[in-house]
Amino acid sequence: MRQGEISLAGLLALFSLYLMWKSMELPIGYIRGQGPGGGFWPFWLSLGMLLSCIAIAYNWWRGKSPAARSDDPIMDEFGWRTVILVGGGVVGFVALISIVSMYGAIALFLFYYLRFLGRHSWVLTLGLSIVLPVLLFLFFEGAMMISMPQGMAFTQPFFDLMYDFIY
């Protein structure tokens, strides 16, 4: 944790410097007759972020924060596995939206989570993976009139069928 705390503060300090540099694309000072320039607000706030990171590093050096005093690892094996399997599942879910549509991605994500991570029965897994996307389709496309991404062309027959059903 101790090493993680200072590494994270260092990363955030670098990001703050990047934001300061990006803010300088617009004027960061006071322009007579126009007020503060467009970069004024983000520049000084990014500087605030940088100074906070320096204060965090100072507290780390003095051992003031709980993480700075801890020699434990950030996460044990279970923690890393959970984050990779669940977080990876969410990344896969979003990546699949452009291929199999929002509803297709929901069905696949639910199938993956319920069957492989939750170890639920086939009946529950398949039931939820099919029923929930259909209900969400009816709510978003039918009631709320919000169109979701439809993925690649091969999903069209499904959408045609569903649109026939709601209109």
Binding site: M1, E5, L8, L12, L19, K22, S23, L26, Y30, G35, P36, G37, G38, G39, F40, W41, P42, L45, S46, G48, M49, S52, C53, A55, I56, N59, S65, P66, A67, I74, M75, F78, T82, V83, V86, G87, G89, V90, V91, F93, V94, M102, I106, F109, L110, Y113, L114, L117, G118, R119, H120, L124, L132, L136, F140, M144, M145, I146, M148, P149
Partner: protein, 503 residues
């Protein structure tokens, strides 16, 4: 007395069968839309606006106001049950609402939210009825320096009362404010902070993207990792008796927060451009500051739910005031309502009360009826929301992920924003591991645009002199209180050191 007779007419009008039916339908629809992460009253009102052309203007606005009311009640539901604030107004509700749900007190949290919302709405309605024209003129005296001072106060409450690591809290606030500046500079119109030259950032980063990332993805990963997947959020009390005992407990333990939220929320809501989000946050901060046991806030206490919930309902009613009396919308939802009124051929502004008396009092009457309807409909659905929490976490967790992603898309309509949700979620998980508070960042991204524009306008007014925030009669005291709150942790530290030195 004249006011009471107008109000009686308004109440009778809103109790007519068509209007009453529209109120019940609007509140129920609003409740469910508000409970959905990513969708808030603004979505409900905007989507259903065209439907209102089928009924007379008086009934149309009653329907839309009922949706607004329902959604305000509904916002608390996702904050408590899913831990995701459905709208920015419900961010402060997660601070204690979520811990209560995790402690098995979900139904108490939901009942407290419903009761506090009801009281907040009622107090606001009474204040609205009695003082509408007077308050409108007070609100007008709030210029950019006063609004900026209020924003400063909202952030100062986090630093002074947060109890978290101060540098990390300040980092979080600054980070949220910088994220709010991504996109375009609203004054010069030039692109600003287009990070890594990715064109998606030209659209800016919306509140909902950060909120869903932090609370929907990050918080869920954190909960799964911390509890090893064995989360217990259930509450077996789902009977009428359970609801009655929760109601009694909520009234006993949440009255202080409710009272603070009801009054403070209304006055903040009345101010143009302020609205329910700073209102709910400030009420939470003030309730904590005035509490005998401020450390209990954030661990799951009814007062911590009651204060922001009473405030956001009260402020929502308050926000109607500048809309009706001055024609200035205080929030995106009231802006759409205002648009609706213009389409129906009404002119909002000082003459509305005189020229369209029946319309205005019908609407005010409907606030009272909608508030009562929302309370009962909300209480009736609490068992359903609590039942949701009884699901095994291996079913609830993927449902929350799905609702977060689909809700995030519904709000932003862009794949770029969905990827940002995922990045913020994973980033938030690691920041949380190292005790960075993230609620300040979420609130900062909401208040950032208001804070920046009012700060720049103020400095323009004063030709760059920052004393404008101190030497005006209203802005001055607010700024001084904010500065004291920011310095509070340092003062406490000094006092402790002095005490140690003398001991």
């Amino acid at each position: 007395m004249e006011v009471l007779s107008f109000l009686a007419d308004g109440l009778l009008l809103s109790l007519q069968p068509l209007n009453l039916m529209l109120i019940l339908a609007g509140v129920t629809v609003g409740l469910f839309i508000g409970a959905m992460p990513g969708l808030g009253s603004v979505n409900g009102v905007a989507i259903l606006l065209p439907i209102t052309f089928l009924v007379p203007p008086g009934s149309a606005i009653i329907f839309l106001a009922a949706i607004y009311y329902g959604a305000m009640y509904g916002g608390a539901i996702s904050s408590v049950t899913l831990g995701i604030p459905g709208a920015s107004t419900a961010v402060a509700t997660t601070f204690d609402g979520r811990p209560m749900a995790l402690n098995g007190k979900a139904s108490l949290a939901l009942v407290t939210a419903a009761l506090a919302s009801f009281v907040g709405g009622t107090v606001a309605n009474v204040l609205f009825t009695l003082f509408a024209p007077l308050l409108a003129s007070v609100a007008l005296s709030f210029g950019p320096p006063e609004i900026f001072a209020l924003m400063l106060l909202a952030f100062a409450t986090f630093v002074g009362l947060g109890g978290d690591d101060i540098p990390k809290t300040i980092f979080s606030i600054c980070f949220g404010l910088v994220l709010a500046a991504v996109g375009f500079d609203t004054i010069s119109g030039e692109p600003r902070l287009v990070l890594f030259e990715i064109s998606g950032f030209l659209r800016g980063i919306g509140f909902i993207v950060l909120a869903i990332g932090v609370y929907g993805i990050g918080e869920m990963l954190w909960t799964l990792e911390q509890t090893r997947g064995e989360v217990t959020t259930t509450n077996p009390k789902m009977t009428i008796k359970g609801l009655v005992s929760d109601t009694k407990e909520a009234a006993r333990k949440g009255w202080r927060g409710t009272m603070i939220g009801s009054f403070l929320g209304f006055f903040v809501g009345v101010l143009p451009a302020a609205g329910a989000t700073p209102g709910s946050l400030m009420s939470y901060g003030v309730a904590k500051m005035l509490s005998k046991n401020p450390k209990a806030y954030g661990t799951g206490i009814p007062d911590g739910v009651a204060a922001p919930e009473a405030a956001n309902n009260s402020a929502s009613t308050g926000a109607m005031l500048p809309m009706l009396t001055l024609g200035i919308p205080g929030s995106p939802t009231t802006a759409i309502l205002l648009g609706g009124m213009v389409i129906w051929g009404l002119t909002p502004g000082p003459r509305l009360f005189a020229n369209e008396s029946e319309f205005v009092w019908g609407l005010i009457g409907s606030f009272y009826v909608s508030n009562v309807a929302a309370l009962f409909i909300n209480l009736a659905f609490i068992p359903l929301f609590v039942w949701m929490l009884r699901m095994p976490f291996t079913i609830l967790a993927p449902l929350i992920f799905v609702l977060s992603i689909i809700g995030g898309f519904a709000a932003a309509r862009s794949m770029h924003d969905l990827w940002m949700i995922v990045i913020f979620g994973i980033g938030a998980f690691f920041l949380r591991k190292f005790d960075y508070p993230l609620a300040p960042a979420v609130l900062a991204i909401v208040l950032g645009p208001i804070a920046e524009s009012t700060m720049r306008q103020s400095l323009l007014l004063s030709s760059g002199d920052p004393m404008i925030f101190l030497n005006r009669p209203i802005a001055g005291p607010i700024t001084v209180i904010a500065i004291i709150l920011i310095l509070l942790p340092a003062l406490k530290l000094l006092r402790r050191k002095k005490a140690v030195a003398t001991a």
